[in-house]
Amino acid sequence: MGVQNRVALVTGSGSGLGETTVMMLAQNGAKVVVNDVDQAKVDKVVKKIKSAGGEALGVAADISKKDQVQDLVQKIVKQFGTVDILVNNAGIARDKGLLKITEEDWDIVLDVNLKGPFLLSQTVVPYMKERKFGRIVNISSRAYLGWPTQANYASSKGGLVSFSRTLALELAKHQITVNCIAPGLIQTPLYDALPDNIKENLMKSQPTKTIGKPEDIGYGVLFFADDEADYVTGQTIFICGGKSVLSSLSV
């Protein structure tokens, strides 16, 4: 039932959505792995989980580097024996108009947001196949539908949706599900830092007239990661208060 005793890795869980998600998985009885590039952030979240009585391992690693990904997974397997749940959450943005996006802006966003999930999935899937159980949850973004100044970011997040769908088909026979969550507006430090008039405009265009909380995303992850979610695969659900309905690509 649920995620009890499952081993769950959440990338980019040193802060924001990832931190909340990894904490929620731990609260629900999963053995969790906190990953981020920043060791101090990793340590902080691991400490929080442990002091709340949860089981956690922290590993600082850059998920866009193959050797670091392999090392990360090795450490998890050594400690917990396997990886049951992989949440590809780590992501970065470098928003700029098309003509101002440098090659480096393009590469780094694609490397972290899309190549990272590829490398991680490829590394953990053999363990999942062996145990005939796996849950991969990819955190995309509503921006994959297209958004000005996000040519790199939107492409990476759109790629993540396609990647999820392909993997779902390839792995369906191995009892491994692959699903995708596309968050809309969520209250994170990034949102809080916006000027008030921009926040107001954003809020106005929300069908619910509310903004989501990191917990809303964590709740979606728990749904897909659940032992019992075994007939749900290849799906993309927006957690966005209904804003996705205003776009043509939202079913």
């Binding site: 927006f238 208060g241 309905v245």
Partner: protein, 250 residues
């Protein structure tokens, strides 16, 4: 998951997926309303849930008749004081090749599968608006993407998706969310009634090589219907073992 104590009406819940959903919701402490057109079947499900310790009432009503729908919701609110969750599950099909489909086949399927959803939602929303809280979960079908022999059924179920999206936009600011589940192949009495070779052919086309159970639908209904799902709105989530990926609207 916070859902205990909520009041949920599930249409067409005397058998199949609706019944499975109602029973599992009742196990989670939801006050459950069983609705169907057949009194005997409603009574049986109510009895089973009561014996298992659940809180439940049964209402026989034809959801295509406005007066019966109004009376049904009145009865629910009189008994439980509110209506938090509406699961529009009732559905019928009359599969036929396009040229063999009679006007009656068309009307009947559209009335139950689409107009019934409209009537029940309209009535439920009257109460949900006052509460400032509501969860509507519509059961569409993967067949809305198109299926030979299902001109009427697929049109009705596509209508359910569109209705979901429109209501989500209209009601979002009132604390009411509206979401949609298109099930794929699920083990129901209908599945068991298929000939063996038909079943085999269908199974072969499943990415997972198997079908789902009513439980798969029930837990997804509860996901959308829980208190925590307040920011999930207007969504269509297939529970189909990945089969939806072969269609271009996925």
């Amino acid at each position: 998951m916070q859902i205990k104590g909520r009041v949920a009406l599930i249409t067409g819940s005397a058998s199949g997926m609706g019944r499975g959903t109602a029973e599992i919701m009742a196990q989670h402490g939801v006050k459950t309303v069983i609705n169907d057109v057949n009194q005997g079947m409603v009574d049986e499900v109510v009895k089973g849930i009561k014996e298992a310790g659940g809180e439940v009432m049964g209402v026989v009503a034809d959801i295509t008749k406005k007066a019966e729908v109004e009376a049904m919701f009145k009865q629910v609110v009189n008994t439980y004081g509110r209506i938090d969750i509406l699961v529009n599950n009732a559905g019928i099909f009359r599969d036929k090749a396009f040229l063999k489909m009679t006007e009656e086949d068309w009307d009947k399927v559209l009335e139950v599968d689409l107009k019934g959803v409209f009537l029940c939602s309209q009535e439920a929303v009257k109460y949900m608006r006052e509460q400032g809280y509501g969860r509507i979960v519509n059961i569409s079908s993967r067949a809305w993407l198109g299926g030979p022999g299902q001109a009427n059924y697929s049109a009705a179920k596509a209508g359910v998706v569109a209705l979901t999206r429109t209501l989500a936009l209209e009601l979002g600011k009132r604390g009411i969310t509206v979401n949609c589940i298109p099930p794929g192949l699920i083990e129901t009495p209908m599945w068991h009634s298929l000939p063996e070779e038909g079943k085999e052919r269908l199974l072969k086309a499943q990415p997972m090589g198997r079908i789902g159970s009513p439980r798969d639908i029930a837990r997804t209904v509860m996901f959308f219907a829980s208190d925590e799902a307040g920011y999930i709105n207007g969504q269509t989530l297939y529970v189909c073992g990945g089969k939806s990926l072969f269609a271009n609207i996925g």
